[in-house]
Amino acid sequence: MGTETVRALKGVSFDVNAGEFLTIMGSSGSGKTTLLNILGCLDKPTDGDYLLDGVNISGLSRNELARLRNNKIGFVFQSYNLLPRTSALENVELPLLYNSGISSKERKEKAVKALEAVKLAERMDHKPNELSGGQQQRVAIARALVNEPVMILADEATGNLDSKTSYEIMALMQELNQQQGKTIVFVTHEPDIAAFSSRTIRLRDGKILKDTVNETKKSAKEVLAAIPVADDY
């Protein structure tokens, strides 16, 4: 067993402003995952502070962190993490089940609204195995949106998708960011994905290498439109 302390992150300090679309990039071992865990309130920094919506998470218990995750963060994972054999609607309702202040009627309304926001309202009764990868990820995004979090945290959310579907997801992310003002933090190692965000932080060996505002932000919609329509097989 290693007793040596590994410092995954060293002196990392930055602010994410409301309504920002931030990508965090870095090769493996750069501390991306650790940073994501801290941002997602899954882990607490051993040293230093993380303020989420004005709340310092360092002093919080496991249960308080769980509540924070429920109310303020929406996760989108690389592998979707939808419950199998469960309809899209019920998958989206899931975070609301852990929020005792919401009635079952409200829960359904909110879930339908979230599915409408990701343009999957007509597929709400479909189970994950009846949906394509891109549709599954959109269900996962709806699940992240449903509790109206202050920040959506995406972990390689396009990692399992082909490039066209990735662009579709990015177009959806951009739309959520621009039209609904959602704050999005997107962890990726693909530079072309990062090109769709408004700001990029590059990590290396646990330190911030670069923190750049993306002046030439691309529109995923336009990129998508530019892709030549492939012949149907």
Binding site: R69, N71, L83, Y98, N147
Partner: protein, 406 residues
């Protein structure tokens, strides 16, 4: 997080894998069904043993006079005379736990029919005596209260007496015999009962109305015994206390006085009965315990597999805001739902099985409510007990590790 949402979550999680939930239940279903059926068979045979024992008169209570020390030297119990018709009437009127009372005045003598004679004992009793002893008639009729009131010279013969004073094949009913020179009309013959536990021939007896014996033979107002039957085996003990109270009142005994009577129950029979039912209960409880433990281990095993298999789901639930306790309750409620649903199916199956046993094997079965309620609660407790450790394991998972679990 309220309990209904938790039940909803657990129910949905179970529905996602119905076959496995059912297979997990199977252990509990078989366990509970076995318990219900076993207990039903056990209770059935217990009841048939109980019926047999009470047909032997296990609820009979005997009252006899007891020597009193007032005179210094104690007298033999049979020479003490304290029981009268007033005691019998008081018992009939006041006692709640008894359903029949009969006095007994007996005497020995020679019974004569023509050239044949036989020494036997004649017992003077009331018509209820046959009910108390569960004696039945082979032929003829029993005497009635009217015969008692008129001190009628009628009698019922035991089989040994019949064999000794009548030629074989001759019907004794309607014949007149003489006992101690007094003629009696035979109105019935008792069924043969054989020897009792002490080797006494129970058929060597003549029964007659007690008033006839008292007035025409013994010239006494006292009885040697009073026989009482308690309503059932379980009321024997309260009946004892009640009889004692009533007799002390009718005998005008002061609190300091000793009883001038003794009350005895058929303890040997009762002990046989209770030791039989105790053995059955112990045996069935052991079977019930083993089958439910096996079922419980099945639940625990599957819940452990389920927790491991659903590690990512647990990680996801935690990442979207489930607390450790929510996860704990989800898995605990899943385990309880499995065990309770299994319990319900098991109860239905057990009842069906015991019906089938009665129909096809014609064994007596008795499905008791208490065994249903008990096994149901034991199921729920089994669910909690065996579901707790897997649920706790799930609730203690680290969300980061769980999310990345492959």
């Amino acid at each position: 997080m309220n309990i209904f949402s938790l039940i909803r979550i657990a129910w949905k999680a179970l529905q996602r894998n119905k076959l496995r939930a059912f297979l997990t239940m199977l252990g509990i279903i078989i366990g509970v069904a076995a318990v219900i059926a076993m207990v039903a068979i056990g209770q059935g045979s217990k009841k048939s043993i109980q019926d047999q024992l009470s047909s032997m008169g296990s609820n009979m209570i005997t009252i006899r006079p007891n020597s009193n020390v007032t005179a210094g030297a104690r007298l033999d119990a049979t020479s003490v005379q304290t029981l009268t018709i007033d005691d019998v009437k008081a018992l009939q009127k006041q006692a709640q736990y008894i359903n029949a009372v009969s006095p007994a005045a007996s005497t020995r003598g020679q019974v004569i029919n023509g050239a044949l004679n036989w020494p036997t004992s004649m017992q003077g009793v009331s018509p209820q005596f046959l009910d108390i002893r569960k004696w039945t008639l082979k032929d003829g009729i029993a005497f009635t209260d009217a015969d008692v009131n008129t001190a009628a010279k009628v009698c019922l013969l035991g089989q040994t007496v019949v064999n000794n004073i009548f030629a074989s094949g001759e019907n004794p009913v309607g014949k007149i015999i003489r006992f101690n020179k007094i003629p009696f009309t035979i109105i019935g013959v008792l069924n043969a009962k054989g020897e009792n536990a002490f080797g006494q021939d129970q058929d060597d007896i003549i029964l007659a109305p007690y008033s006839t014996i008292q007035k025409r033979i013994l010239a006494t107002i006292y009885f040697q015994n009073i026989y009482v039957s308690a309503s059932n085996e379980n009321t024997t003990q309260p009946a004892l206390a009640e009889i004692s109270n009533i007799l002390r009142t009718t005998h005008r005994l002061k609190p300091a006085d000793e009883d001038d009577f003794a009350v005895r129950t058929q303890e040997e029979l009762i002990n046989t009965f209770s030791s039989t039912s105790q053995l059955l209960t112990v045996l069935l409880t052991a079977i019930a315990g083993i089958s439910l433990i096996v079922g419980g281990i099945g639940i625990m095993n599957i819940m452990y597999v389920s927790v491991t298999e659903r590690t990512r789901e647990i990680g996801l639930r935690m990442s979207i805001g489930a607390r450790g306790i929510d996860i704990l309750f989800q898995f605990l409620i899943e385990a309880i739902l499995i065990s309770i649903t299994g319990g319900l199916i098991g109860v239905a199956l057990g009842i069906t099985a015991s019906r089938l046993v009665t129909i096809f094997l014609s064994w007596p079965t008795l499905v008791s409510q208490s065994s249903i309620i008990l096994s149901f609660f034991v199921c729920a407790i089994t669910g909690v007990f065996f579901g707790y450790y897997p649920a706790q394991k799930a609730s203690r998972l680290d969300p980061i590790d769980a999310l990345r679990y492959e």
